[in-house]
Symmetry: C2
């Protein structure tokens, strides 16, 4: 399968300055002027269809990407061919930075649905990061956030049981939708059960069983990929998380 970044877009070009996501995305905290300079180096490609790759592990690292619409998963391949999903990426999130010093992408990014991205060529971004302190800080913040996410996943994979993992996962997605202005209790999971099971280090069957158990206990309602969180408090307790009214720390 061929990667499909940077195919020119025919329609109107959106810009960071007018993008509704700019308060969540890389331009966050950039001045009007700096944002324009960032906008200048960004390439907008045609949409990526479900199942297509944005980039592939081992390919030369040329660009990082910000998700504009849609969703992707990133995964690493073990030498035995098994894959481990390391993250799901919703609108405004930046992908690829972990390859920054590697020369090649250390993971593969695949679209979970039709997805549009902003491509940011590494060389120019790297150059701009030296000129715009706010951009540099934002890049480092993004990487710090990624590290903390991954370390929380290590904790999840190492110490939590199946129900705690699923609850943590649902709440993570819930919080991310909420930050984007969507409902924190009614949403559509863009990934399959298989993807969820892979991400959480469980068998698909276990995910399915936990979902049905959660429904029996009236913590959630599901209908295919649509999901309603009916008892947030219990889910938070199950996940072993503070309810984070004041967003004390991430997980």
């Amino acid at each position: 399968m061929k990667t499909t970044a940077a195919t020119p877009l025919r329609g109107a070009q959106p810009h960071c300055q007018t993008c509704s996501l700019n308060a969540l995305c890389l331009p966050l905290s950039l001045s009007e002027n700096d944002m324009e300079r960032l906008d200048d180096i960004i390439r907008r490609g045609r949409p990526i269809q479900k199942g297509q790759l944005l980039f592939q592990q081992g390919e030369e690292f040329q660009s990082v990407f910000a998700v504009r619409t849609g969703a992707l998963k990133t995964y690493t391949l073990a030498s035995n061919g098994e894959e481990q999903i390391t993250g799901f990426h919703l609108a405004s999130e930046l992908i690829g930075l972990s390859g920054y010093d590697a020369g090649a992408y250390p993971l593969t990014a695949k679209a979970l649905e039709t997805t549009t991205v902003c491509e940011i060529p590494l060389q120019q971004l790297d150059h701009l990061a030296d000129e715009l302190p706010d951009l540099r800080k934002q890049l480092m913040r993004t990487m710090g956030t990624e590290i903390r996410h991954d370390q929380n996943m290590m904790l999840l994979l190492s110490k939590k049981n199946a129900e705690e993992r699923v609850a943590s996962f649902l709440l993570d997605i819930s919080q991310r939708y909420q930050r984007r202005g969507f409902s924190s209790t009614h949403f559509r999971l863009p990934m399959s059960r298989v993807d969820i099971s892979n991400y959480l280090g469980l068998a698909v069957e276990t995910i399915s069983r936990v979902f049905t158990r959660f429904q029996k206990n009236e913590l959630i309602e599901t209908q295919g990929k649509e999901i309603i969180l009916t008892d947030l408090d219990s889910l938070y307790e199950l996940a072993g998380l503070a309810r984070a009214h004041d967003k004390c720390f991430s997980e």
Copy 2:
């Protein structure tokens, strides 16, 4: 327990310029002049004793640290009090950057043995990163490396069985000693079996059993914390890793 960073050192002050680790550490790729500017903001404290904390989860994030001698572990606390070790840190490695944007340390760092560190105040480092492009790049490289490490750990915790985990762990340590000019087959593990088990998401007893099994199969020899890797090839195969003669990619 009180954290003990930045207590003034009485003896001779070492410098980056003369430090044998500067080719592995943060000054990597800095010019002589830039290295001096970095050196100027670094504080060297008195040694930290085994079991003491360098910093604690939740404390205000003020500095990152480079390990000069000794070793530390870093771990995060779940809300139920369980801890998950996220990394072991040997000489020349940088700790704390993951808190860059968090305001507070997202994890705790504890000395595994008597350890000396170089303290780098965040504010000054952050300032210097805007002036020295090479330093900025090195910081981002460090963070990228950390992300890839953590994602490899996710794969390990999610997909590998006990023997594969232990083999991967031993080889990781082996490679890190080798890069520092030590033997890749004869070394001393600075951490306890309990720490290893926690890091690898297994019970202590399982670690112990795998170690004895590896000895019976003549893959390793152990005597307390001393360890000899007698069959690197088999260990690499077990770990599901390429032998990496040409260091094709990390794990």
